[in-house]
Amino acid sequence: MRWVTAKRLFLLVVLVAVTLAAMHFSVPERTGLSSLESKFRDVLAPVQTGLTWAGRQGRYLVSLPVSMVGTAARSQALEQEVERLQSENIQLNEYLIENQRLSALLDYKNVMVNNYNFMVASVISRDPGNWFGTVTLNRGSSDGVIVNMSVLTPDGLVGRVIAVSASTCEVLLITDPRSGVGSLVQDTRTPGIIEGVAGRSGIARMIHIPNNAPVEAGQAVVTSGQGSVFPKGIPIGIIRNIQNEPSGLFLSAEIYPFADFNNIEEVLIVIFVQPKADTPLVGG
């Protein structure tokens, strides 16, 4: 091997080794951002907000002519749908009244209204790649946001705050492979852990489900509130495919989250959880 080639090869090896070491030291375990990072994000936030808004308007304009095709047929179908929903709504109101009566009898409180305080936030940007699932919101430490706060939509759990600057915060979605959420199958109270599959896949997996647990497709999964930062009872998703884990001791299941991760625009940050008398504030 020529001397020049050997020297180049040596430099390449050094470069790769230094980069691999830097990668390990920049693992996002830290809870705060450096002053420079924080300022950079705050300066960039208005630009990202504007561009995200412009992108949504552009998509609306482009999709408008396409959506006009077949409007008459769709209108007729929608009218039928409205009639069906009105009938269903009356039935649901009956259930609601019955539920309220039973709740009063059992002295239950409406958990979502009485136990949580929410802050509305808009998504202003997302991770540039397809491996990770993170979004940046337009709320930061100046609004009272801190690391590990839970983020939801009315449909279900979205993720948790992992970094905060003065006017923005970064949220790790539950579909990110670095995410883990303590969970329960709602009907059977079977425990498991929801972990992300790949950032942009829009699905997650529930792992470590006991082998003999009565779990089947179509069951809903909620947060367990134990061993995690998420409050208890937040809907996560629906079980689809169930498989045996390689160890043979546990099952795993594919979870289709209730929240639509590819189209989230506004979310709710849980800023306060009312402690219950007999339970800790949130899981550890």
Binding site: L15, V16, T19, L20, A22, M23, H24, F25, S26, V27, P28, L33, E37, L44, V47, Q48, L51, T52, A54, G55, R56, G58, R59, I124, S125, R126, D127, P128, G129, N130, W131, F132, T136, A163, P177, R178, V197, A198, G199, R200, S201, G202, F261, N262
Partner: protein
């Protein structure tokens, strides 16, 4: 001067990548414009330049996100180098060739990315990684290659004429 232009271009691309490109996702996947720039530049300029532009573009992307500094630098360096090697062996002034090279070198870069995720103890199932991320990402990026190829080709020609 060219260095500053490249840096500014990367900045604009990254802002677009995190905002406007969200509106053109297909099944949650968006194209990787930094990879496209690196691969096409490497294809036209050669392996050494491709590797350098890939490493630099990747490190800017890593600094932009603030996590795992070097993850994109190494994967895009590999993609840029391979695109340069392909450019030395194939006919360069041809869009279908550039598109196919973009697909395979992007896929190679994403494979390096996947291996680095394993190195960082981030486990993604190989099947999901291949069929839900790597292949769709590389395909979507390659589909955009014809729209940018001639612009980069002309820029490279003007630059080589100046020197």
């Amino acid at each position: 001067m060219q260095f500053i232009v490249y840096l500014l271009l990367l900045g604009v691309i990254l802002i677009l990548q995190t905002t406007v490109l969200e509106t053109i996702t297909i099944a949650g996947i968006k194209p990787d414009l930094v990879m496209l720039l690196v691969v096409l530049s490497g294809f036209l300029l050669g392996p050494k330049e491709g590797a350098f532009l890939g490493f630099f573009g990747g490190i800017v992307e890593d600094l932009f996100t603030g996590n795992y500094i070097g993850l994109n630098a190494l994967s895009k360096m590999a993609a840029g180098y391979l695109a340069g090697v392909a450019g030395e062996r194939l006919y360069r002034e041809n869009i279908p060739v550039a598109t196919i090279v973009t697909f395979f070198t992007s896929l190679a870069g994403l494979t390096v990315n996947y291996l680095l995720l394993l190195y960082l103890d981030i486990y993604v199932s190989p099947l999901y990684a291949l069929f839900r991320v790597a292949i769709p990402d590389a395909a979507y990026t390659a589909v955009l290659a014809p729209f940018f190829f001639w612009r980069i080709f002309r820029y490279v020609q003007i630059r080589s004429r100046d020197f």
